[in-house]
Symmetry: none
Subunit: 223 residues, 4 copies
DNA sequence: GATGAATGAGCGTTCATTCAT
DNA sequence: AATGAATGAACGCTCATTCAT
């Protein structure tokens, strides 16, 4: 995937000034990932990020209105990147079952290697998404942000996989529910595995999670 | 269920001073529910709660260390209450399948009537749990709180239903994963139905959610 | 006037917590007067006042919402105090002309001695009023504050003197205009005398100002 | 008055770079008027003005040191323009009384039609002057600005009318006081009429204001 | 035990300004 | 000459918390 000179495109509804358009902007993104990963989103502030990148917090405000917008940006980047990987992994494969299987693997597993899409550490980002992304849309102004299109990347992934589901079983009534249950479920089972093991099975073995959700999906769609 | 004089028991790891032990404590609980429901957990503060109940915020600190502990208390109360309802709904039913079916109904549906367990409005509490409870354990100190037993009520419910699952299919490898996926999934699908409809199916019809998860579970366990 | 144990009453629309009710509150008032006098209202901030009184600015917010409310409080105190002096100076005087004459003296002259109404330095306060009070009601939310009764003390003084005017000449059409012109005019002529001498006559001689406005009023009302 | 190709001359003490010398400068002036009128001088900032004219705030700093200088510039423009109108309205009139009468009308009434002196909306400007100009010289550095000649236009108008006053009554001791009282009084009575009606008479009727100050002046000068 | 008063620390934000282009 | 990017400093404000009563 390296050296492909492909860039994840992020729409202007997700920032005040495109962080991709300047060195400072890129620094903000890459360091926000390491900092959120380190101290958690609750304790993360623009002031701390400013110190971290040796820059004044006021500069960060040029790029993002507040830390929440930044989180939404990161999740959006993540889903655009996932979509790209899904496309890549499923082209030229005729069987929808096969395509769905490969897709489930991608959405249920945390990223293990950093292919370093430019300045973004995908491993850390993926960990943030798995444990913090839920906060990106559990807020009082979800509706307004949703209307502005802030969650389109996520919706796009769900839609893409729902379409494969319908290829396999056109009569299925709950394709979106199925896919979003898998995605959110996988995130949480991973988190439970690390922090609340009694809510899941077999500890940290993340392949079990993929196995579980794969079976779940195909049990549903079979026959 | 009214007039049964049953009380939900909450362990001392969940408060500094038992809110159930005084009029002020009960006021704190019942008003925190209405206030969190109204303005959301992010904007909720002890200062606002203090004003709301005409009391000084410092008094609230006697009962809870911070607003997060209060949220954990509320979720714990909720799960203890759910456990109580599960017991009630499944006693004297021989068939584990039947018991699981009834249980799934209870854990996937939001509460519609307030049976007014004393001073707690269960309808509002259930809405808070469905949309905010995720924040109770997505924090940097989950581990410490988990060790202190703060999430035992939730774990207890998951365990109880896992046991029923194993009654039905003793060889099943992922009973906890299955149950916690259903619970968390149902919470989120409800939330998506209200705020991010493209991530779910058929809008606000919450019976569809129960139907979906019921089918999901029994597809898994059949044969 | 000393030792009379009279207290200027200020209504609750003018503060969040009554500054008169605590030592800190009184410190806030007395030091805000010296500080505003020293550095001007524009440069005056709660942070600076906090440092000045060796206290945290957050404590000041308990008493006043913002620095503007504090200025409004000070003007209100001033006008209540002026009213008190007017009553004192005019009781038992039969002739309305005489009463008006004495009143004009009070409203056109800056205070020269501090009779020290408790913790308030009237000399400095009077200087603040003469040069800064105009900012108390030249704001975007005058209307709302006026509806809340924030300017009642000032209005009361104008009304009281207007009544004397009407005693002298019942047919006079512009009593309020006349009085408020005298008050505001005297404030500004004093200010001009110090800072923009070409807009006034004879420099700093403040008796000239009283003489001018006295003549102006009685020219108007005569015959 | 249109098409007369007369230009108000503003001295270099009032700007860093002459706003009249470039398109951007003119845009700054004309838009600052509409913006101050809209949001008030307190909330007005160069950043907002920059956005308003689609230009960077740093460009505005080329023309004016700060927002205060800009306000002083506007007031100066206003008074130069008033002087021009006074000259125009009083030439070829022999009677000083007649000249004073016409002058009082000009200085006490708000402008109602925009004769559009180039890019300046005189109606809005006049409203700004009536309600905000007081802030132009109630600052800690009046003296320095006054020495630099920033208020010469205003002083010129007061002087011109004082001269007429002395033509009528050479022995009069307070000509400047009289004129500046009329000007400032008329500004404030207009403001009171809109926002603090209890400090004036008969509401919004601005002719009453002219009538009042006319009478006031001639009562003073008669005999 | 409950309260009120006071505080320190820090957050989000904005402003005026500088620097490089 | 005009602009855009970035900055430092401060502001207004609120939060969680402590202390004294």
């Amino acid at each position: 995937m390296k050296n492909l000179y492909i860039q994840i495109q992020i729409g202007p509804e997700l920032y005040s000034k495109d962080p991709n358009s300047s060195a400072l902007g890129q620094k903000i993104i890459s360091n926000s990932i390491t900092l959120i990963h380190e101290i958690g989103f609750e304790d993360f502030t623009f002031r701390k990020l400013g110190k971290h990148i040796q820059s004044n917090e006021s500069s960060i405000y040029r790029y993002f209105e507040n830390k929440h917008s930044l989180l939404v940006y990161l999740t959006s980047w993540y889903w655009s990147w996932i979509e790209y990987r899904l496309v890549f992994a499923t082209t030229n494969i005729a069987s929808p079952t096969e395509r769905l299987k490969k897709s489930i693997l991608i959405i249920t597993q945390q990223v293990k290697e950093d292919n370093s899409f430019g300045y973004i550490n995908e491993v850390l980002l993926s960990e943030i998404i798995f444990s913090e992304s839920v906060k990106a849309y559990h807020t009082k102004n979800v509706d307004e942000e949703n209307n502005r299109g802030c969650f389109m990347a996520y919706v796009g992934v769900v839609q893409r996989l729902s379409n494969i589901v319908l290829e396999i079983k056109p009569s299925f009534k709950f394709p979106h529910m199925l896919i979003s249950t898998v995605i959110e479920g996988a995130h949480q089972q991973n988190y439970f595995g690390k922090h609340l093991p009694k809510l899941t099975d077999k500890g940290k073995d993340s392949e079990a999670i993929t196995e579980f959700y794969s079976e779940m999906v195909f049990n549903f769609l079979k026959k």
